[in-house]
């Protein structure tokens, strides 16, 4: 308690420089202090502030990949990054990437929208009403362990190959993530906040809108991010087996044709879309619920 907050925060980094081979938790701070010392140099401020570490990491990854690819000399198993890049440009020029990506993203958006419409209201009902929860929860707990993927054969029979199957699988996956988070969000509302609203004569619908909903929002947003991640993972499996187009289909299609550079190019597309969407959702989360951290906990 005797050190000021700023001093105790700084303590970590300074200690690391003085104390080589210290605790496991200290080695990293050394790197940070090195950066701090380097920044007030001759470079313009905005340039010094950009963190080039990710670029360097990816550059090293590409170099290692190139090296391994040349060394294994098996272009079908591991094409070089250059050939993957060329394949990517080809596919992009022919519009094939946009075509498949658009199909997958549309399915994703539709699925998430359906899942929100189904899961969030049900989550509020179950979170607010113990009786409804007691009836519905066992069914949810029975179905939840059966992964969306395991529905594929049955769904293939019911829906055939097409748009409906991937959407069904994704809705199923997203539904549970959203539902469980909504329920726990609604239940996490501090009863005192509701009691306080009541003593002020606020009516029940107003309490729902102005107390319960905002309090549950962080958990719902976290649930939505989880739902997105689950759905984006499931879409590949669903399209790979049960769709005539989309990114999952494209990967498998070119795998069968042994056109590895295109397989890798499409995997790259999946990674980039997934990454960008996650960044977008994080930004949305900060806008919607600025008072909590990324895991949804108030800090």
């Amino acid at each position: 308690m005797s050190a000021t907050p700023s001093a105790s925060a700084a303590l970590k980094m300074d200690q690391a420089t003085t104390d080589v081979g210290g605790g496991a938790a200290q080695t990293g701070d050394r790197a940070r202090s090195g950066r701090g010392a380097a920044s007030p140099g001759g470079v313009p401020g905005w340039l010094a502030r950009i963190d080039f570490t990710p670029l360097r990491s990816f550059a090293i990854l590409l170099l290692v990949w190139q090296g391994v690819a040349v060394w294994t000399a098996s272009p079908i198993q591991l094409p070089t990054p250059l050939r993957v890049g060329a394949a990517f440009l080809d596919l992009a020029a022919e519009g094939e990437i946009t075509e498949h990506a658009l199909v997958s993203v549309t399915r994703l958006v539709v699925s998430l929208a359906i899942a929100v419409v189904l899961a969030v209201p049900l989550g509020f009902l179950m979170g607010l009403n113990r009786k409804i929860d007691a009836f519905v929860d066992p069914l949810i707990e029975l179905l939840r362990p059966i992964s969306g993927i395991a529905w594929i054969p049955l769904a293939l029979f019911i829906f055939g190959i097409g748009d409906v199957l991937p959407v069904f699988i994704m809705v199923y996956v997203a539904f549970f993530a959203l539902l469980l988070n909504t329920i726990s969000g609604v239940r996490s509302v501090d009863p005192k906040l509701i009691a306080a609203a009541r003593t002020m004569g606020v009516a029940r619908p107003m309490i729902l809108a102005k107390v319960v909903a905002p309090a549950a929002l962080p958990a719902i947003v976290v649930g939505f991010r989880l739902a997105f991640a689950g759905a984006w993972a499931a879409i590949v499996a669903a399209e790979l087996i049960g769709a005539p187009n989309g990114l999952g289909f494209a990967i498998e299609w070119y795998r069968e044709l042994l056109m590895s550079p295109k397989v890798f190019a499409f995997i790259l597309v999946i990674a980039v879309i997934g990454y960008v969407c996650d960044l977008g959702l994080r930004a949305l989360q900060r806008r919607l619920t600025p008072w909590v951290d990324e895991a949804g906990h108030s800090s």
Partner: protein, 274 residues
């Protein structure tokens, strides 16, 4: 042992500690030119307002932190890093939640340097001895979360002593306890420290507190610090007789010392809340 007569056990000379903030490069001076000699068997309390660098001094003596400038010596040799010869009792105790009372007391003996030359049976015997010393017999297999604050404090004290350090460094060890428990444990601490033993056999102790009466009750000398940057404001020799018990608080000199210390830190304490 001839040299030991006039050589202090611990010597801090011109110790300065600056912290540099990671991004802004802003420099904060936590300690400025702190000099302090502590003799063998002395009980020294450091008091001062928050921000005076009390804990920084402790960390530097413990070897967890190095001074930016100045000399820190133990028995005439510079302190280079942490070692089991200087035992630390941390604020909030730093007990291992996954270890039982026994496991915590024996942590250094079993996994660290102090128990290197011992057999497992010797270690166990030593743990049992210190369990008894701090009156925790019967609670050996409990986990920290099952203990009261006072009991946790005793575990931390037993762990500290079991490692056999010759210097004890205590960072507000009673700070988390309620007022009644504190007063009881202060007397207990003096008993365990070895108040009745001759000075050569007592452990040299540096004790950090923000409680003025606690400092007067425990210490041979009280170091009063001022903040921003942390400096030694004054050092008071508390020549109250030992062994001390509750009655000493009624001694007029006790109140005099407490008033004197309060006078020294009052201005900054008032500033801090203004």
């Amino acid at each position: 042992m001839n040299g030991a007569v006039n050589r202090p056990k611990l010597r801090l000379q011109g110790v300065t500690k600056a912290f540099v903030a990671p991004r802004t490069g802003h420099r904060t001076l936590a300690l400025a030119d702190v000099s302090l000699d502590i003799d063998q068997g002395e009980f020294v309390c450091i008091v001062g307002p928050s921000g005076c660098g009390k804990s920084t001094i402790l960390n530097i003596v413990a070897g967890l932190d190095a001074p930016t400038a100045g000399i820190v010596e133990k028995d005439g040799a510079p302190i280079a890093g942490p070692g089991p010869d200087r035992g630390v009792m941390f604020q909030d105790y730093a007990l291992y939640p996954w270890q039982t009372v026994q496991g915590n007391i024996g942590f250094g003996l079993n996994y660290g340097a102090p128990g290197k030359s011992m057999s497992q049976a010797e270690r166990d015997a030593r743990v049992a001895e210190f369990v008894k010393l701090v009156s925790l017999t019967g609670s050996e297999s409990k986990y920290p979360h099952q203990l009261s604050g006072g009991m946790r404090q005793r575990v931390a004290l037993a762990r500290l002593l079991a490692n056999g350090p010759d210097i004890l460094l205590l960072d507000e060890p009673l700070g988390a306890l309620d007022a009644q428990t504190r007063i009881i444990l202060q007397a207990e601490l003096l008993r365990i420290w070895g108040e009745t033993a001759p000075r050569e056999q007592r452990k040299t102790t540096v004790f950090i507190t923000h409680d003025i009466e606690e400092a007067v009750f425990l210490a041979d000398r009280v170091v009063v610090m001022s903040s921003h940057p942390g400096r030694v404001r004054d050092i008071l020799t508390i020549d109250l007789p030992r062994p001390r018990d509750e009655s000493i608080r009624a001694d007029p000199r006790f109140g005099h010392f407490a008033d004197e210390i309060w006078r020294l830190i009052r201005d900054q304490a008032l500033q801090a809340i203004a």
